[in-house]
C-alpha cells in the first residue's frame, strides 16, 4: 500500500509540471490582459504602458513562466491585478464558502439519492420505482440556473422562509450561535437547488447495480441457503452495489472546490466559481492560473483517492 501511494505521489510531480506549463501557455494565449479593460479618458495610455512593463507582461513567455513557477514553488502565488490582493488571501476568503456549500450539496444529494436508488433498485418496476425514475430524468433535464431561480422565487420571495442571498446576515457576530444559525439558514436554498439536481448519477448507478446484482449467482446461492430477504439485500446486494458510488466519491471531492458559477451568482454567494469566471473575463492571470492549478492538482489527488477507496472496499483489486 505504501509503495502504491509513493508511486502515485511521484508520478504527480511530472503531471503537475506539465499541467502548469499548459495552464500558463493557455492563459497567455488568451488575447488581452488585466489592463485591457481599463481604457478610457481616466487613464493615460503612458500609464498603461508603464504598468505593463512593471508587471513584466512584455517579457518572453518562458521568462514569465520561470518567474511565476519559481514563486509558486516558494509558496508565493502572486497578486491579483483586479483585487490588488495576494491570491492566497483572495482564494482563502472564498474557499471556505465554496467548501461549505459544495460539501452540504454533496451530503444532501447523497442523503436523497442513496435511499431513492436503493428503493428503486429493490422494487424495480413498482410505481415507486417509476416515480423515482421520473424524478431522476426530470432532475437531469432541468437546467440549474432555471431551477435555482424557481426555488429562490418560491421560498425566498413568495414564502419568504429563507434569505434571498449572501452567505451570512450582517447582524450576526462571528463566534455566536446566531452566526452559525444564520450561516445554515443562508445555505438552505442554494443547497436545495444544487442537491435536488445533483442526484442523477447516484440514483441511476445504484439502481442499475442493484438490478444487476440481484440476479447474480452468489445472491441466488444466499437465497437458496434460506438467508432472509432483508439480509440478502443489506449484506450481499447493497455492499456490492455501492462500489461504483464509492469510486466516484474521490472525484466528487475534487468537484468540491470547483464551486458553482450559477448558484453563487444567483444567491450572491461569494465562492470560487464566480471568482474563476470573473478572473477569466478580466484576464486576471495570476488568479486564473492558481485556480486551475489547484483544481488540476485536486483532480489528480481525487483520482488517487478514488483508487484508494475502491481498493479498500473491494479487496479483489487491492494492490500491494
Amino acid at each position: 500500500m505504501l509503495k502504491f501511494l509513493l508511486r502515485r505521489t511521484l508520478i504527480m510531480i511530472p503531471q503537475l509540471f506539465i499541467l502548469s506549463v499548459l495552464i500558463f501557455l493557455l492563459a497567455k494565449s488568451m488575447p488581452g490582459d488585466a489592463l485591457t479593460g481599463q481604457i478610457g479618458p481616466q487613464i493615460d495610455a503612458e500609464r498603461l504602458i508603464e504598468l505593463r512593463e512593471k508587471a513584466g507582461l512584455n517579457d518572453p513567455w518562458h521568462e514569465q513562466y520561470a518567474r511565476w513557477i519559481g514563486n509558486v514553488i516558494q509558496g508565493d502565488f502572486g497578486k491579483s491585478a483586479i483585487y490588488q490582493q495576494k491570491v492566497t488571501n483572495l482564494i482563502g476568503d472564498r474557499l471556505g464558502n465554496t467548501l461549505l456549500l459544495s460539501a452540504s450539496i454533496l451530503l444532501v444529494s447523497y442523503l436523497i439519492a442513496i435511499p431513492l436508488g436503493i428503493i428503486a433498485g429493490r422494487w424495480t418496476d413498482s410505481w415507486v420505482d417509476k416515480l423515482i425514475v421520473w424524478y431522476n430524468y426530470l432532475a437531469f433535464a432541468t437546467p440549474l440556473f432555471v431551477f435555482a431561480l424557481i426555488i429562490l422565487f418560491i421560498f425566498g420571495f413568495t414564502l419568504q422562509w429563507f434569505p434571498i442571498g449572501g452567505s451570512v446576515d450582517i447582524q450576526a457576530d462571528k463566534g455566536t450561535m446566531d452566526y452559525v444559525l444564520s450561516k445554515t439558514e443562508h445555505l438552505v436554498l442554494p443547497t436545495m437547488a444544487g442537491s435536488l439536481l445533483a442526484t442523477f448519477g447516484t440514483i441511476q448507478y445504484l439502481r442499475n447495480e442493484i438490478i444487476d446484482t440481484k440476479i447474480k449467482d452468489f445472491v441466488k446461492t444466499a437465497r437458496s441457503k434460506g438467508v432472509p430477504e432483508r439480509k440478502v439485500y443489506s449484506q450481499h446486494i447493497f455492499r456490492n452495489s455501492l462500489l461504483p458510488i464509492a469510486a466516484f466519491l474521490g472525484y466528487e471531492i475534487t468537484g468540491l472546490i470547483g464551486g458553482s458559477i450559477f448558484l453563487e451568482s444567483i444567491f450572491s454567494y461569494p465562492g470560487l466559481g464566480q471568482l474563476f469566471l470573473s478572473s477569466i473575463s478580466s484576464r486576471d492571470f495570476s488568479v486564473v492560473n492558481i485556480l486551475v492549478l489547484i483544481s488540476g492538482s485536486a483532480a489528480i489527488v481525487g483520482t488517487m483517492l478514488s483508487d484508494l477507496i475502491l481498493s479498500w472496499v473491494d479487496p479483489r483489486i487491492r494492490v500491494d
Partner: protein
Amino acid sequence: MLSSFLAACTKDKEKVKAELTFPTAVSSTGEAIGGGTVNFGLISDTPFEGTLNHVFYTGKPDAQVLQFFDESLLYTNSDYEITNEGPATFEISEDKKSITVTIKDQVKWHDGEPVKADDLLYAYELLGHPDYEGSRYSGLIPMVEGMKEYHAGKADTISGIKVNDDKTLTISFTIASPSLTTGFWAYPVPRHYLGDMTIGEIVESDRIRTTPIGFGPFKVNKMVPGESVEFVRNDDYWRGIPALESIVLKVVSPSVAVSALGTGDIDIADVPADQYLAVEELKNVELLGQIDSSYTYIGFNLGKWDAIKGENIMDNPKLENKQLRQAMAVALNNEPVGEKVYHGLRFQASTLIPPSFPGYHDFDAKAIEYNPEKAKEILAEAGYKDTNDDGFVEDPEGNDFKLTFANMSGSDIAEPIALHYIQNWADVGIKVELLEGRLHEYNSFYKRIEANDPAIDIYQAAWGTGSDIDMKGLYGRNAMFNYTRWTNQKNDDLLAAGVSEQAFDTEYRQKVYKDWQALMSEELPVIPTLFRYSITAANKRVLNYDIAGGSKNGWDTVAVSADSPIK
C-alpha cells in the same frame, strides 16, 4: 448669474431627443420618521472587491460602497466642475498653475481626528509612489510640479505641493489647464490611520478592506467581505447629523434585482437595462434616470499607431473619403434599435459630447438623421456607383467595394443590432459583412482594434467620456486610445484650445467644444450611434434622494417616511 445658467441647462435638457424622460430625484413627499434604515442593493454578478479606498480601488462595485463613507474634499456641479460647497474651498492662482485648498474646520475622520492638509498630500504621495500599481497615476497627477522626479524615485518629496498649515495646502502644476477644474484630485487619505504601512501592506490591510474610515455621512460598522456592509450614521459629519440611522448595503444578483425591489428587500438599486420593462410594472418603487456619460459609436479603421513617435498616422485610403462616412452615418436607422431593443432607454446620439455635460453638449446639433435617400445621393456624389448591377456600389475606380464590421459578443442583442446596421447599409447599396461572420469576445476585439487589424474596416464599440470635457485622450493626434487613427489639423487646434489658459473662461471653452462637435459631425471618424439612460429605482418610502450630478442632496439628507419598505 449661476441660477440663470442652471435654468438654461434645464430648458436645454428638454431638447434631448429622447422618447422617455425620467426625474432625477424622488417625488415622495411624506414626513420623515426620525432615523430608519435604508437597504441599498449593489446589483452585481460578483462580490465587491473590497479595496475600499479612492486611491486603490479598481471596480465599480467598490465605488458604490465608498460613496457612503468617503467623499471628495471638493464637490462638483452638473458639468463636473469643482465648487466651493464641499468640505473644502479652493482658489486658483493668477497664473492658473496652482490651486490652494482650504479644508473646513469641522471636517473630521470617523475616528475623530481632523482631516488635515497633510492627508491630501499623503494621497498624492501614494498616487505618485514608485510602488503604486493602480491606474490613477494619470491625468493631472503626473503634471504636479516635481511629481515625475518623485515617481521615478529621484526625489523624496513632491516639490510642487506645499502644506501651508494644518488646513491649507497649495498644489502647483507644470501647465495651466482648465482640466484643473474637472480633473483635480481631492480625495485625502488618513495618514494617521494608514501612514505606518508600506503601499503593499496598505492594499492588503484590514484598514482599507474591512474597517476603512472616511469622513462621509456614514461610518462602516460591520462588513461581510464581498457581500454586505452595515453603515451607521456619522454624528460628526461636517454638514450635520445625517437623517438616517443606518444603511445596509448588500450585493444582489442582477437576475433577482427586480424581485428584491418588489418585495422591499432592497429600497434603492440601479436597474439593469434588460430588466427595465419588469421594474416599470412595480407599484412600490419610483424610477429615476439620468443620461449616462457613455455612448455607443461606430468607428472607421483609418490608419495605424506609431508607438515610437507616439502619434496616430492616418494612412488607410479605403475609408478616407469623408462623404463615404457621412453616407454611412445617415444610412443608419437607430430609432428601432433604441425603441424596440432598448425600450427607449437608449436613443439616437447626436454628437460626441453626451448631454451628461449639459454646459457643453450641443443641444442644437441635429442628430445624424436617418435618411437613406440622402445617403444614396452622397454616395453617388462621391463616386460610389453600382456599375455591375449587383445591387451594391463599387468604389470610384470601379472595383468591388465591401467592408467588414467588427462587433463584440457578450449580450443577446449584439448580433441582431449588428445585422440591422448591415441591412441599413445594404439598403443604400453598401456591402458590409460581419467580420469572420461572427461576433468577437471583448478582449480579442480590443486587441485587434488597438492594432488596427487590416481585416477590420469598421467596428462598433462604446466608451465613457469621464468627468473631464477634455477629449484629447480619446480623439487627439497623440492619443493611443484614438483607435480610428484619424488626425486633422483643425481637431488638433480645437482640442488644444479647449485646455488652453484662455479656456478657463467657461463661455470660450463651451464655444470651443461646440465647434469641435460640429467638426466631428462633419468629419465623422466615428459615428455616434446611441446615448443611454441609466436607471435607478427607489422605494416610495425614500425621501430626498437625488441622483443628478452636482445635486445638493447627499446620503446625509436621504430619509424614509416609513419604518419598513412599501411593498
